[in-house]
Amino acid sequence: MSILVDGNTRLLVQGITGGEGSQHARRSIAYGTNVVAGVTPGRGGQLFDDKVPIFNTVKDAVRATGANVSIIYVPAAGAADAILEAADAGLPLVVCITEGIPVLDMVKVRRALQGSGTRLIGPNCPGVITPATRTRVGIMPVQVFSPGKVGVISRSGTLVYEAVAQLTHLGIGQSTCVGVGGDPVIGTRQREVLEMFNADPETAAVVLIGEIGGNAEQEAAEYIKAEMTKPVIAFIAGATAPPGRRMGHAGAIISGNTGTAAAKKAALREAGATIVESPSEIGSTTQRVLRERGLI
């Protein structure tokens, strides 16, 4: 199983002819992902790599190919518009990689998506990957992923690769890995992804990678306490970050008391999650928890 993306994914790439878009479309195709269309306004009618038809608009692409997921590699100034175009074309899932989208643009996008049938993952995220069906909707390095039953959720990109590499090294594979993104206003928060993993029969446990800023982890903790039936192993980055400074990600800034790593760890611990203190022990801690629960 898995969540969000699987063997039924028919992927459309917005920005397929750009530098990032072309590179990653190529890698996803090589991995085994079903890339059915690309969109670059003005290049409609052409073929990408002699294989993938390019269209001028998302509507055209969906009509012609039945694409059901879109990935967006459009620069920040045009990314919100690209998301809304995808939603308007009726796509049920849109993943936006772009970093640097103005927050107030995302405020408008989030509002516009309410009540639509479109789920947004991101922006400023590495995407979503389901190793079992070799479906890579994003920029994740495929060599660290392996199929299995641990769901992974992260606000960070390279930190999740570090975590997943540790898991794979120990023979613990992943059902789906979801990068929710590092921005303060995102399409899907950690809590919602936990709900999806909770309902997924192929996911036996969840690794949650959080960081300072906002209260998404506290929100996740509430859900874990009330509803989660599977073990959660969590690491929160930024215990050493100073308050008031933006640590790379737009959403990683401590203001007041809720945004600290300590507050998030306390909330998750209280909810029954296992907290990993050192990032190099994410894999080993997950292994221990899985063994304790008789899951491996």
Partner: protein, 391 residues
């Protein structure tokens, strides 16, 4: 991006928010001149980005232009230390000279984006003139919040709700509050602010609402579409090493207090690397997210930024290459050794794409780079190296 109080007030005035009459002065003579124009009774306020200026001695009342000149002479050029500047303080380059106001009540008003709901929120409180975080901690019931639906924008009923909630109940005051709150929201939205705060918002003895102090933070991601706001940047308010890093194309560099310089790709991994250094008994000298590493120059620039920090005793390069290529990192490190005189120990922990090629390059270079086998091992070696115990 932050701006000064006088700039924030000018912006508010553009949007119809009443502010005290006043102008900025960079010399004591100028301050005297402005005070004379304003009738003599003024407040002289240090212009630095940090708060707490009053307690730090950066705000003085003056009853004559001569007193204003003397106050400005004391404040301009002072190294003002507040609880928000850090112990080194901030050098004051200018003062805002404003008419004094007869204050009857101090209120609080601000707009920011609430990440949980994904909507802008306007907050008001009858407890003005204090740090809002303190009010939130001790008397949270005194803070009234209203979400602003992006589909409708700020509406009159929202202003009424807030105004009644903070005791502005007469028709006259409601009218003023409405206009003021509308103006504040519009300034926030039009300029892509991340915070727009009036603290205190005062009710004067003659029944006027006035923004006595104003603060704006702007969304860095949106500056590209606000050249007027970007032009207000004050480099002197930023850490000189961070300014230097930006000039080398390294935007995500934050100077910290330790002695282990870090270069990492990805913000989350960079934070986790700092955390690991601390767990291994050391102190990071900085946060540096080098981002997607696709060219050698970027790597050498990042190393230069670290080398520019005199506090650094060892460098830890932690790269997990998905899109970043290890061979490019290796070339960057080799080039850095060639270009700069690197005498510090360098620890590298490298994983990912083109690892073998990168390893080969480093080996052939013969450079004394200490290798970490994993994240903790790399951090531990960097801590030891910084302490002078090189393996």
């Amino acid at each position: 991006m932050k701006i000064h109080e006088y700039q924030a007030k000018a912006l508010l005035a553009q949007f119809g928010v009443p502010v005290p009459k006043g102008r900025v002065a960079t010399t004591p003579a100028e301050a005297r001149q402005i005070a004379a124009e304003l009738g003599g009774k003024v407040v002289v306020k240090a212009q630095i980005h940090a708060g707490g200026r009053g307690k730090g001695g950066g705000v003085k009342l003056a009853n004559t232009p001569e007193e204003a000149e003397r106050a400005a002479a004391q404040i301009i050029g002072m190294q003002l230390v507040t609880h928000q500047t850090g112990p080194q303080g901030q050098k004051v380059k200018s003062v805002l000279v404003e008419e004094q106001s007869a204050i009857e009540r101090e209120l609080y008003l601000s707009v920011l984006v609430d990440s949980t709901s994904g909507e802008p929120v306007m907050m008001a409180s009858a407890a003005g003139g204090m740090e809002i975080e303190e009010v939130a901690a001790t008397t949270p019931e005194k803070i009234i919040r209203i979400n602003v639906d992006p589909a409708t924008g700020f509406l009159p009923y929202m202003a009424r709700q807030l105004a009644f909630g903070i005791g502005l109940e007469t028709r006259e005051l409601l009218g003023q509050a409405q206009k003021l709150m509308q103006g504040l929201y519009e300034a926030f939205a039009a300029k892509d602010a991340s915070l727009a705060e009036i603290n205190p918002l005062v009710l004067t003895a003659d029944g006027r609402l006035l923004a006595l102090d104003a603060k704006f933070n702007f969304d860095d991601n949106a500056l590209f579409r606000h050249p007027d706001i970007a032009a207000l940047r004050d480099i002197d308010e930023e850490d000189p090493l961070e300014v230097q890093a930006k000039s080398h194309g390294i935007d995500n560099y934050i100077k910290l207090d330790g002695n282990i310089g870090c270069i990492v790709n990805g913000a989350g991994l960079a934070m986790a690397t700092m955390d690991t250094i601390k767990l291994a008994g050391g102190e990071p000298a900085n946060f540096l997210d080098i981002g997607t590493v696709n060219n050698v120059e970027r790597v050498t620039n990042a190393i230069k930024v670290i080398l520019d920090d005199p506090a650094v005793k060892a460098i830890f390069i932690n790269i997990f290459g998905g899109m970043a290529r290890v061979d490019v990192i290796a070339q960057g490190i080799i080039e850095a050794y060639r270009t700069f005189n690197i005498t510090l120990p360098v620890v590298a922990r490298l994983e990912g794409t083109n690892l073998e090629e990168g390893e080969r390059l480093l080996k052939e270079s013969g450079l004394p780079i200490i290798r970490g086998t994993d994240l903790y091992d790399g951090a531990r070696r960097a801590v030891e190296a910084a302490a002078g115990k090189v393996a």
